[in-house]
Symmetry: none
Subunit: 193 residues, 4 copies
Amino acid sequence: MAKNKKKKILEVAAQLFASQGFDNTTTLQIARETRVTEPLLYYHFKGKEEIFTYILAEVFQKYAEHIDELPKNTQTEFDKIANLIRLHSHIAEEHPQNARLILSNCPGKLMQKQHACRDILEKQQQMVSSYIQDCLESGNAKKEFDAHPVEQTALILLCLANEFMRMKIMRKKDSQPDTQGTIEFCRKSLVKS
Amino acid sequence: MAKNKKKKILEVAAQLFASQGFDNTTTLQIARETRVTEPLLYYHFKGKEEIFTYILAEVFQKYAEHIDELPKNTQTEFDKIANLIRLHSHIAEEHPQNARLILSNCPGKLMQKQHACRDILEKQQQMVSSYIQDCLESGNAKKEFDAHPVEQTALILLCLANEFMRMKIMRKKDSQPDTQGTIEFCRKSLVKS
Amino acid sequence: MAKNKKKKILEVAAQLFASQGFDNTTTLQIARETRVTEPLLYYHFKGKEEIFTYILAEVFQKYAEHIDELPKNTQTEFDKIANLIRLHSHIAEEHPQNARLILSNCPGKLMQKQHACRDILEKQQQMVSSYIQDCLESGNAKKEFDAHPVEQTALILLCLANEFMRMKIMRKKDSQPDTQGTIEFCRKSLVKS
Amino acid sequence: MAKNKKKKILEVAAQLFASQGFDNTTTLQIARETRVTEPLLYYHFKGKEEIFTYILAEVFQKYAEHIDELPKNTQTEFDKIANLIRLHSHIAEEHPQNARLILSNCPGKLMQKQHACRDILEKQQQMVSSYIQDCLESGNAKKEFDAHPVEQTALILLCLANEFMRMKIMRKKDSQPDTQGTIEFCRKSLVKS
DNA sequence: CATGAATGAGTATTCATTCAT
DNA sequence: AATGAATGAATACTCATTCAT
């Protein structure tokens, strides 16, 4: 029942942070919706910021696991890019809350040097960048791609993958970008014909 | 001297909203940095929200003008896409503050139905979408492109253009995406070879 | 046009003070509804309090005139009492705004010693008291009444006359006290049968 | 110690509201005189209005109890009227603060339809009206009175009883109306001789 | 683990009033 | 006579956080 409540707090807080943002979510609101009193939040966490950081870490942890679980051996290197876009599509559709947290500009305060949030985000970005760069380099080597320079192309693909997710969660169903269309767009650009 | 202060307030507020976000900017802060007392803000504007809305309207107005001023007759249709990306690059570099405001998720409160902010944003999005769609359709007609379906492709390009701007303002110089590279990426995907 | 605006200010202010009370009426509201700017209020009057005092003086002036105009020679002395009640009824019906101001507990601040409002109110109360006392004394002398002690009876009649006016302006039409009924009630008590 | 402070807040607030009125009493003042910080007011109550409403309800509750405790069986029906006046005299003398609150015109805001204050006041007025009407009807039946129409006469008596209380708290000792005198005044008018 | 009570520091907003013109 | 601009002092209310139990 103890662990239970801590978990519940995190669930509620995550939902509120995702839908209202960090600044517009009060500790009272978190406490009330968890059916708990505020001091309990402070028993389990150091403060509001820690709750947020904790959640962010969790979300990115899951995201990292998803990236890690993407198949290492694919027929073509481009399949890896396609898989990344499909993963973003999946997250946007199945875990829109997490997508919102991943894309949320953390409140400025939490992005200062030395704050845990900053580390989490930077680590995450490097991870995805690596994933894409590795795949581009392999593709280049195999003459599947002709992507130069690799870092730049990786960055562009990351742009696309991110904003693709952003649009999926921000727009109405009928004006969302299409997953397969986005993949094809990238294929045309990347894969040598 | 009168108009002067109103203008000054808007400048200061814009800078603060862009760098700290709406919620983390207090009216006191705006007043202090304008070297003015708080009640003056309320003399010129109805409240904090109106200041924000006013600024947002201004920024989008300028953005709309920029889009409008992009050359209508270009050698190729793709040049129009390239110009859009160059425009985003230009804004990110020369007016990063405006870029931040354009991309900022307005606080939820200001995005509710019937709020002026919502109208501004929606109008803007449709404008850019139209620009891209028109150009894609022309390009398709001229057999320059083979972009189908048009709406989807337009959305993808919008994604890229937006997140491109976002990355330019969020990342350090050395890890920003390159304008020419981004343009080439799109060209490869769009232009029939 | 000058006198005109001063008059207009007083009219608007009187209406607002009567309906909302002194504290809930702002100088801005007075200015706006007079279609004038606030500094003009301060050109014509020393401040909000002076406007109120001025109005109160006017209203009581008119009230005093009404009392003064009540017929001095009546068939019976009781007719004078009846006339006072009828006057209150008349004011409540024809000038409810004035009635409201007469009965309003002036805001505490304005009732401090040495404030003009206090003088006005006290002078007024003494005037009505005198009117009633004179009539009672005459009535006693003529053996029409048997009202003892005169001061006390006068006070009771004043109570009735005032609260009668108060009820007329505060209550819905169907639960207001009836003028003739009130007069008869007093007659039965006062007039020797 | 907890209940203690809530009670203290109410006591202090009641005293301030009674002496200064709702609008001229600030939450800071209430807090300071209670030797408590403002947020505590908001911990115990929803806001200033709720504090006022709460107090008003309490005062009227006590008043209602007093009315209820008035002897049901009296020698004459008129004794009941006399008792009501004596009750008002008692309240004015022993609990002038409550008297002030009872008679205070609640600020307009709090008298809007659907506001708790309105209900409280209306309920109260009907209660006293009933008390007087019942007694008048009984008196008429017993041929003790000849009060017609009952509703009207009841209203007049209510006028007197209220304004009597008002005068007792507003005037200096030497110009207050006399309880016994007021009772006799009513007796002469009501009781058939 | 849990809570009722309490608070320091803010937070947007309002108001009567004044100044320069 | 009239106004646009400006302000000092409040004003109700909120929030993250802590303390005593």
